[in-house]
Protein backbone atom coordinates (compact mmCIF):
# COMPACT_ATOMS: atom_id res chain seq x y z
CA UNK A 1 0.00 0.00 0.00
CA UNK A 2 1.37 3.36 -0.95
CA UNK A 3 1.34 6.35 1.30
CA UNK A 4 -1.54 8.77 1.01
CA UNK A 5 0.64 11.85 0.99
CA UNK A 6 4.19 13.04 1.36
CA UNK A 7 4.97 15.38 4.25
CA UNK A 8 7.88 17.74 3.73
CA UNK A 9 9.11 20.37 6.10
CA UNK A 10 9.49 23.47 3.98
CA UNK A 11 12.39 25.88 4.09
CA UNK A 12 11.96 28.95 6.26
CA UNK A 13 9.56 31.45 4.81
CA UNK A 14 9.16 35.07 5.63
CA UNK A 15 5.91 35.57 7.50
CA UNK A 16 4.44 38.81 8.73
CA UNK A 17 1.40 39.14 10.94
CA UNK A 18 -0.45 42.25 9.86
CA UNK A 19 -3.34 43.56 11.92
CA UNK A 20 -5.45 46.60 11.31
CA UNK A 21 -8.53 47.81 9.48
CA UNK A 22 -8.67 45.51 6.46
CA UNK A 23 -11.28 47.66 4.79
CA UNK A 24 -9.17 50.80 4.59
CA UNK A 25 -7.63 52.10 1.37
CA UNK A 26 -4.24 52.46 3.04
CA UNK A 27 -4.26 48.80 4.05
CA UNK A 28 -5.12 47.82 0.50
CA UNK A 29 -2.16 49.80 -0.83
CA UNK A 30 0.16 48.44 1.86
CA UNK A 31 -0.67 44.81 1.11
CA UNK A 32 -0.33 45.47 -2.61
CA UNK A 33 3.06 47.07 -2.10
CA UNK A 34 4.38 44.27 0.11
CA UNK A 35 2.99 41.20 -1.65
CA UNK A 36 1.50 42.32 -5.01
CA UNK A 37 -1.82 40.94 -3.80
CA UNK A 38 -5.22 42.38 -3.03
CA UNK A 39 -6.89 42.06 0.39
CA UNK A 40 -8.28 38.53 0.58
CA UNK A 41 -11.89 37.96 1.48
CA UNK A 42 -12.90 35.82 4.44
CA UNK A 43 -11.10 32.46 4.30
CA UNK A 44 -9.20 33.28 1.14
CA UNK A 45 -5.53 32.78 0.25
CA UNK A 46 -4.04 34.83 -2.57
CA UNK A 47 -0.68 34.32 -4.22
CA UNK A 48 1.68 31.43 -3.63
CA UNK A 49 4.15 30.08 -1.10
CA UNK A 50 6.77 32.67 -2.00
CA UNK A 51 4.59 35.73 -1.98
CA UNK A 52 1.08 35.52 -0.74
CA UNK A 53 -1.46 36.70 1.74
CA UNK A 54 -3.82 34.67 3.91
CA UNK A 55 -6.97 35.88 5.66
CA UNK A 56 -6.64 35.07 9.36
CA UNK A 57 -9.46 36.95 11.06
CA UNK A 58 -11.56 40.07 10.37
CA UNK A 59 -8.61 42.26 11.39
CA UNK A 60 -5.61 40.06 10.70
CA UNK A 61 -3.68 38.89 7.66
CA UNK A 62 -0.67 36.63 7.31
CA UNK A 63 1.72 37.88 4.64
CA UNK A 64 4.13 35.42 3.04
CA UNK A 65 7.28 36.94 1.59
CA UNK A 66 10.77 35.58 0.83
CA UNK A 67 12.68 34.94 4.05
CA UNK A 68 15.34 37.51 3.21
CA UNK A 69 12.77 40.14 2.32
CA UNK A 70 10.94 40.40 5.63
CA UNK A 71 12.65 43.50 6.98
CA UNK A 72 12.14 45.28 3.70
CA UNK A 73 8.47 44.25 3.52
CA UNK A 74 7.83 45.51 7.04
CA UNK A 75 9.43 48.82 6.11
CA UNK A 76 7.14 49.06 3.09
CA UNK A 77 4.12 48.34 5.30
CA UNK A 78 5.14 50.87 7.91
CA UNK A 79 5.53 53.56 5.29
CA UNK A 80 2.21 52.75 3.65
CA UNK A 81 0.30 52.61 6.94
CA UNK A 82 1.88 55.62 8.60
CA UNK A 83 -0.46 57.41 11.03
CA UNK A 84 -2.94 54.52 11.15
CA UNK A 85 -3.47 52.00 13.94
CA UNK A 86 -1.82 48.79 12.82
CA UNK A 87 0.61 46.05 13.75
CA UNK A 88 3.16 44.46 11.45
CA UNK A 89 5.46 41.96 13.07
CA UNK A 90 7.97 39.44 11.77
CA UNK A 91 6.87 35.96 12.85
CA UNK A 92 9.01 33.98 10.37
CA UNK A 93 11.09 32.26 13.02
CA UNK A 94 8.09 31.50 15.21
CA UNK A 95 6.56 29.26 12.59
CA UNK A 96 7.15 25.96 10.86
CA UNK A 97 5.70 25.13 7.46
CA UNK A 98 4.93 21.72 6.03
CA UNK A 99 3.85 20.82 2.56
CA UNK A 100 1.41 17.95 2.18
CA UNK A 101 1.33 16.56 -1.35
CA UNK A 102 0.05 13.41 -2.97
CA UNK A 103 -3.33 12.01 -3.93
CA UNK A 104 -4.67 11.60 -0.40
CA UNK A 105 -3.94 15.01 1.07
CA UNK A 106 -7.55 15.66 2.00
CA UNK A 107 -7.72 12.38 3.90
CA UNK A 108 -4.56 13.20 5.82
CA UNK A 109 -5.83 16.58 7.03
CA UNK A 110 -9.35 15.31 7.63
CA UNK A 111 -7.94 12.81 10.10
CA UNK A 112 -6.40 15.56 12.17
CA UNK A 113 -8.62 18.63 11.77
CA UNK A 114 -12.33 19.17 12.46
CA UNK A 115 -12.83 20.63 9.00
CA UNK A 116 -15.11 19.65 6.14
CA UNK A 117 -12.52 19.00 3.45
CA UNK A 118 -14.85 17.72 0.76
CA UNK A 119 -14.01 19.33 -2.60
CA UNK A 120 -17.45 20.97 -2.57
CA UNK A 121 -16.61 22.75 0.70
CA UNK A 122 -12.88 23.42 0.55
CA UNK A 123 -10.88 24.11 -2.56
CA UNK A 124 -7.78 25.71 -3.98
CA UNK A 125 -7.16 29.20 -2.69
CA UNK A 126 -8.94 28.69 0.61
CA UNK A 127 -7.29 29.03 4.00
CA UNK A 128 -8.47 27.66 7.31
CA UNK A 129 -7.17 28.30 10.79
CA UNK A 130 -8.01 25.36 12.96
CA UNK A 131 -6.87 22.64 15.28
CA UNK A 132 -4.40 20.02 14.05
CA UNK A 133 -4.70 17.12 16.51
CA UNK A 134 -3.79 18.93 19.77
CA UNK A 135 -2.21 22.10 18.40
CA UNK A 136 -3.24 25.26 16.60
CA UNK A 137 -2.45 25.35 12.90
CA UNK A 138 -3.49 26.92 9.63
CA UNK A 139 -3.48 25.48 6.16
CA UNK A 140 -4.28 26.57 2.68
CA UNK A 141 -4.77 24.63 -0.49
CA UNK A 142 -2.89 25.14 -3.73
CA UNK A 143 -2.63 23.13 -6.93
CA UNK A 144 -0.05 20.69 -5.54
CA UNK A 145 -1.65 20.04 -2.16
CA UNK A 146 -1.71 21.82 1.17
CA UNK A 147 0.68 24.09 3.02
CA UNK A 148 0.36 23.69 6.78
CA UNK A 149 1.68 26.31 9.18
CA UNK A 150 2.09 25.84 12.93
CA UNK A 151 4.18 27.19 15.78
CA UNK A 152 7.78 26.08 15.54
CA UNK A 153 7.82 24.99 19.17
CA UNK A 154 5.39 22.20 18.24
CA UNK A 155 6.82 21.45 14.79
CA UNK A 156 8.09 17.98 15.77
CA UNK A 157 4.65 17.06 17.04
CA UNK A 158 3.03 18.36 13.86
CA UNK A 159 5.47 16.45 11.69
CA UNK A 160 4.80 13.30 13.69
CA UNK A 161 1.02 13.38 13.49
CA UNK A 162 1.04 14.42 9.83
CA UNK A 163 3.46 11.66 8.88
CA UNK A 164 1.52 9.06 10.81
CA UNK A 165 -1.74 10.17 9.26
CA UNK A 166 -0.15 10.01 5.82
CA UNK A 167 1.50 6.61 6.14
CA UNK A 168 -0.99 4.42 7.98
CA UNK A 169 -4.41 3.10 7.09
CA UNK A 170 -6.46 3.46 3.96
CA UNK A 171 -8.11 6.33 2.18
CA UNK A 172 -11.75 6.82 3.07
CA UNK A 173 -12.85 7.49 -0.48
CA UNK A 174 -15.00 10.39 0.70
CA UNK A 175 -12.91 12.97 -1.11
CA UNK A 176 -12.67 11.33 -4.53
Amino acid sequence: MSDMAVITRADARGMITLRGDLGSAKMKKAVKAATDQAIPTSGQFLGNGDKGVAWMSPDELLLIVPYDGVAQAIEVLEQALVKTHFLAVDVSDARATFTVSGDGTRDVLARLCPVDLHPDSFGTGQVRRTRLAQIAAAFWMHDAGFDVVCFRSVADYAEGVLTRAATTGEKTGFFA
Binding site: S42, G43, M56, S57, P58, E60, P114, D116, R128, R129, T130, R131, A136
Partner: protein, 113 residues
Amino acid sequence: MLILECPYCGVNADETELHAGGEAHLKRFGPEASDEEFEGYLFVRENPKGVHLERWQHRYGCGKWFHAARCTTTLEVFGTYPAQTLAPPKELVAKIKEKRPDWTWREFGGAST
Protein backbone atom coordinates in the same frame (compact mmCIF):
# COMPACT_ATOMS: atom_id res chain seq x y z
CA MET B 1 -20.93 17.13 18.78
CA LEU B 2 -21.82 20.77 18.99
CA ILE B 3 -21.19 22.79 15.82
CA LEU B 4 -21.51 26.58 15.87
CA GLU B 5 -21.10 28.94 12.95
CA CYS B 6 -18.61 31.67 13.80
CA PRO B 7 -20.28 34.95 12.81
CA TYR B 8 -16.91 36.54 12.00
CA CYS B 9 -15.34 34.01 9.67
CA GLY B 10 -18.43 32.06 8.64
CA VAL B 11 -16.73 28.80 9.53
CA ASN B 12 -18.74 25.92 10.93
CA ALA B 13 -16.56 25.33 13.94
CA ASP B 14 -16.95 22.24 16.02
CA GLU B 15 -16.81 22.23 19.78
CA THR B 16 -13.14 21.26 19.92
CA GLU B 17 -12.15 24.45 18.08
CA LEU B 18 -14.13 26.60 20.48
CA HIS B 19 -13.83 27.73 24.05
CA ALA B 20 -16.92 28.18 26.20
CA GLY B 21 -17.18 31.53 27.96
CA GLY B 22 -20.25 31.09 30.14
CA GLU B 23 -23.39 33.16 30.19
CA ALA B 24 -23.90 35.98 27.68
CA HIS B 25 -25.05 39.55 28.30
CA LEU B 26 -23.84 39.90 31.88
CA LYS B 27 -23.94 43.45 33.09
CA ARG B 28 -20.83 44.38 35.00
CA PHE B 29 -21.14 46.15 38.32
CA GLY B 30 -18.05 47.92 39.59
CA PRO B 31 -16.81 49.55 42.78
CA GLU B 32 -19.82 51.88 43.29
CA ALA B 33 -22.38 49.09 43.08
CA SER B 34 -24.44 47.75 45.96
CA ASP B 35 -23.66 44.38 47.52
CA GLU B 36 -26.71 42.84 45.87
CA GLU B 37 -25.73 44.07 42.42
CA PHE B 38 -22.17 42.89 42.81
CA GLU B 39 -23.29 39.52 44.10
CA GLY B 40 -25.61 39.21 41.11
CA TYR B 41 -22.82 40.08 38.71
CA LEU B 42 -20.44 37.61 40.28
CA PHE B 43 -22.63 34.66 41.16
CA VAL B 44 -26.24 34.77 40.01
CA ARG B 45 -26.66 32.93 36.73
CA GLU B 46 -29.41 31.61 34.58
CA ASN B 47 -29.37 27.83 34.54
CA PRO B 48 -32.09 27.02 32.07
CA LYS B 49 -33.34 23.65 31.00
CA GLY B 50 -33.94 24.93 27.51
CA VAL B 51 -32.59 27.70 25.33
CA HIS B 52 -29.57 29.46 26.78
CA LEU B 53 -27.57 32.46 25.56
CA GLU B 54 -23.86 31.82 25.85
CA ARG B 55 -20.49 33.30 25.01
CA TRP B 56 -18.09 31.28 22.90
CA GLN B 57 -14.64 31.99 21.57
CA HIS B 58 -13.43 30.69 18.23
CA ARG B 59 -10.12 29.94 19.89
CA TYR B 60 -8.40 27.81 17.25
CA GLY B 61 -9.77 29.95 14.45
CA CYS B 62 -10.09 33.71 14.23
CA GLY B 63 -9.87 34.10 18.02
CA LYS B 64 -12.99 36.26 18.27
CA TRP B 65 -15.69 36.02 20.92
CA PHE B 66 -19.28 35.60 19.82
CA HIS B 67 -22.68 34.74 21.24
CA ALA B 68 -24.77 31.67 20.64
CA ALA B 69 -28.33 30.60 21.45
CA ARG B 70 -28.38 26.90 22.20
CA CYS B 71 -30.78 24.53 23.88
CA THR B 72 -29.15 22.86 26.86
CA THR B 73 -31.28 19.72 26.61
CA THR B 74 -31.42 19.01 22.87
CA LEU B 75 -28.26 20.89 21.84
CA GLU B 76 -30.32 22.54 19.10
CA VAL B 77 -28.53 25.67 17.96
CA PHE B 78 -30.85 28.57 17.19
CA GLY B 79 -28.15 30.88 15.94
CA THR B 80 -24.96 32.79 16.61
CA TYR B 81 -24.34 36.53 16.58
CA PRO B 82 -21.41 38.90 17.10
CA ALA B 83 -20.38 39.99 20.58
CA GLN B 84 -20.65 43.74 19.93
CA THR B 85 -24.20 43.92 21.21
CA LEU B 86 -26.09 44.15 24.49
CA ALA B 87 -29.03 42.02 23.43
CA PRO B 88 -29.74 39.13 21.05
CA PRO B 89 -31.00 40.14 17.58
CA LYS B 90 -34.80 40.40 17.27
CA GLU B 91 -34.94 37.77 14.51
CA LEU B 92 -33.17 35.29 16.75
CA VAL B 93 -35.54 35.93 19.67
CA ALA B 94 -38.49 35.52 17.28
CA LYS B 95 -37.04 32.24 16.02
CA ILE B 96 -36.68 30.91 19.54
CA LYS B 97 -40.17 32.08 20.56
CA GLU B 98 -41.65 30.40 17.53
CA LYS B 99 -40.38 27.03 18.67
CA ARG B 100 -40.47 27.64 22.41
CA PRO B 101 -43.35 30.07 23.08
CA ASP B 102 -42.78 29.99 26.85
CA TRP B 103 -39.09 30.85 26.63
CA THR B 104 -37.83 33.53 28.99
CA TRP B 105 -34.27 34.51 29.69
CA ARG B 106 -33.45 37.39 32.01
CA GLU B 107 -34.94 40.52 30.47
CA PHE B 108 -35.02 39.07 26.94
CA GLY B 109 -37.86 37.10 25.44
CA GLY B 110 -40.13 37.43 28.45
CA ALA B 111 -43.50 35.77 27.93
CA SER B 112 -45.32 39.11 28.04
CA THR B 113 -43.08 41.02 25.60
